[in-house]
Symmetry: C2
Subunit: 500 residues, 2 copies
Amino acid sequence: MEEKLAELKARLAEIYDLRAASAVLSWDQQTYMPPGGAGARAEILATLSRLAHEKFTSTETGRLLDELKTTLDSADPDGDDVRLIQAAARDYEREHKLPAELVAEFARAAALAHEAWVKARSEKNFQAFLPALEKIFTLSRRAADYYGFADSPYDALLDGYEPGAKTADVRRIFAELRDGLVPLVKAIAARPETDDSVLRQRYAEQKQWQFAEEVIKKLGYDFDRGRQDKAPHPFCATFGLGDVRLTARVDENFLPTHLMSAIHEAGHGMYEQGLTPSLARSPLFDAPSLGLHESQSRLWENLVGRSRGFWKYYYPRLQSVFPENLDGVDFGVFYQAINKVKPSLIRVEADEVTYSLHIMIRFEIEVDVLEGRLAVQDIPGAWNAKYKDYLGLDVPDDSLGCLQDVHWSMGYVGYFSTYTLGNLASVQIFEKAMADEPAIPADIERGEFASLLGWLRMNIHQHGRKYQPGELLQRVTGRPLDSAPYLAYLQRKYSEIYGL
Amino acid sequence: MEEKLAELKARLAEIYDLRAASAVLSWDQQTYMPPGGAGARAEILATLSRLAHEKFTSTETGRLLDELKTTLDSADPDGDDVRLIQAAARDYEREHKLPAELVAEFARAAALAHEAWVKARSEKNFQAFLPALEKIFTLSRRAADYYGFADSPYDALLDGYEPGAKTADVRRIFAELRDGLVPLVKAIAARPETDDSVLRQRYAEQKQWQFAEEVIKKLGYDFDRGRQDKAPHPFCATFGLGDVRLTARVDENFLPTHLMSAIHEAGHGMYEQGLTPSLARSPLFDAPSLGLHESQSRLWENLVGRSRGFWKYYYPRLQSVFPENLDGVDFGVFYQAINKVKPSLIRVEADEVTYSLHIMIRFEIEVDVLEGRLAVQDIPGAWNAKYKDYLGLDVPDDSLGCLQDVHWSMGYVGYFSTYTLGNLASVQIFEKAMADEPAIPADIERGEFASLLGWLRMNIHQHGRKYQPGELLQRVTGRPLDSAPYLAYLQRKYSEIYGL
């Protein structure tokens, strides 16, 4: 069996390499690729995806997995090899349902859609994106049919990002959030509006870039094993052990855009940089789910990066970098501004309280399209109506509306709801970390993040994909995913800020 | 047979995609990859190389080629499909001799060697590169044994870069060059040394970068289908139709380093950008050989970029960009400086007259190592002795000696001599272009390069790899490769400059 296991691992390593190559090519497409390269790039990505899929879903892989599964009963259930075989078997179960041609077509369509999206967004022209977006939704629906589902095609897609999660869970959580958040939003709206003009001055790009790099380096993101480049949409991408990259974009007229998203992406990056090296080139060299991945990015972005303690340390440093903007600006004014709650148009810039509403809108639209109640061409109308309904806002153009996010252009349908799951998990995990390591808050106030990162590494990062998402959360926090801690956290924090 | 041909093309397209992916990953390794990524990158490149090799040398490819070859007699011998089948069959014949594991090991070793080389060069420490370099030469020699050869293992490797060329041809050409160049070098050395201090001032990096981009854009390099990034060594890489990139490095204290190498790489880039689009994703979407590729880069770098006519147009422009360096500097002084002949240590900065000596040294060392007369650890000693012997120079450290070139670190052994073949071809081709289009020299003086580029596109670039190198040169110039035009050109140009 040792030999079979080695054979499986060699095969999985090869598949990992093909996917890592795709990740590099996709990163390059979003950072440096000249416009003329889009067509060729789509073909290369289609080929790499098809080959990885064919290799992974081949009868040889299936045979190896079947043989190795018979050995599991007698082995340590938490051993790396056991978990590897189980994870690969689940992936195989899911992926072998898709025909290779669909996988290739999806990769090709996504590469082309990304180029169409970049152009359409900059031109504020949804029609220019429509054909590509229709293709993405058509292929997503076809994939859902191949995967199979009981209730909603959304289930089939969500399972690829958040194994085990159901559309019904997401609906229940959104209902709980709505019940908790609507009164909070109303109470805040009744208070005087926070003046955040201090953030809306000109902050020079180069200095923003340097400051954010300084911050994320100190948090623990390792630039010897990563880098940060500009892209139309911030993301984190891993190309294997020792190469975990971030992208970012800078708004010279709104300080939080770059800084907070750099911290967010660094949260993802530190997760990937903390994976156990011996898991490299295997399906376990990853997070268990997007929700858990997002728990780390949101933890660093919000629970650390928007906390009073963090800014006690960093505000004087920020003042020294931007004296022209911040000299004489009181700490309290800055802290309130960085935590201002106000319905807004752009998800990635939304405050913590209204953020979930942005996700809810995307979730509802995706479900409606997948279930056939909404045509892709009618997305802008539905989007704008929901922003009016849920957030009270008029969307002036689609670049500030349904063209704002990169996800659909990358073929990611069914992905957004994991952001909400991640928000919930972030609070559960952070509270457990502080219970285990009571020094964490004081450390943060001193600009020391090793106690927090060390706890996260030990309890979450190192395990990679060894455990299923629900299982890992239960192991770490002793409880399943729950919206109560998240709601309580928001209530507590914003009652204090807004004097409710 | 239509169906078989389509099957072959689909297979070759997939292989092209895998190699293009490798090219992107290799470009990324040399431009942006963080140091921590080297190990993972080596594995990915090994996997991609092995898969491409396995797909290409599979029995299915062999069977398709055998079947399709039987159809060739009745077809147009210059048709794209006929030429495609012939080229693929020749490649198959060569590549199927190598075991897949050797191909993968070579790709892995080269990726690691590149990292070792970058570090060793910056530390001027040959010992730090030695183990990786020994591996490269050992694997190169093993590959030569698999390919097979009659006279020298160098033949087997050279054939991969310059199909049809023999070590004996290279030796003969070097002998002819020596006979022609030694008296010329001596005659120049007897003249007063050119003062090139005007080039050895501080030229700000950013302005150098912009000026070079302006120049190569005007030559005809298309930035919508390419870009230029910094790397330790300048090169040109193609990732498919519409994505042909250049790299460059800037020396703030010597103007020609960046400018002339940008023109050189743009020469390669314009070749690749001129390939017929319908050849994309096939083995014909490339140049017939490195020598012909180099004929284009050297043509633009030297026959255009160091010509009196070119500088008549560009010198005033250069003066306006760098008034602090060039105000009041006479055109003649600048033109002489940019064409100064003097033995020097660095190949890529060598003048046209002594350039071939640099190649000769590398060629002799490679042959000696491959034939077992020189140990890899003794390369620095041999290198330094030859620089003393041929160029009269002492090599102060290995970064200015045997660590200066990227090639060995990429696994390219047997490559350097194609540079000399390219130099010869560049003059033959340029003279034919001017014979066909007598307006070219006057156009260059007016900063118009379309007549030259158009001729090159029509006669050389568009054909890609349809013709064998010798065949293409014969078709274009009506003659085989010949050192006489090259020697006559050097004699003519430098007699005038040095008043011989």
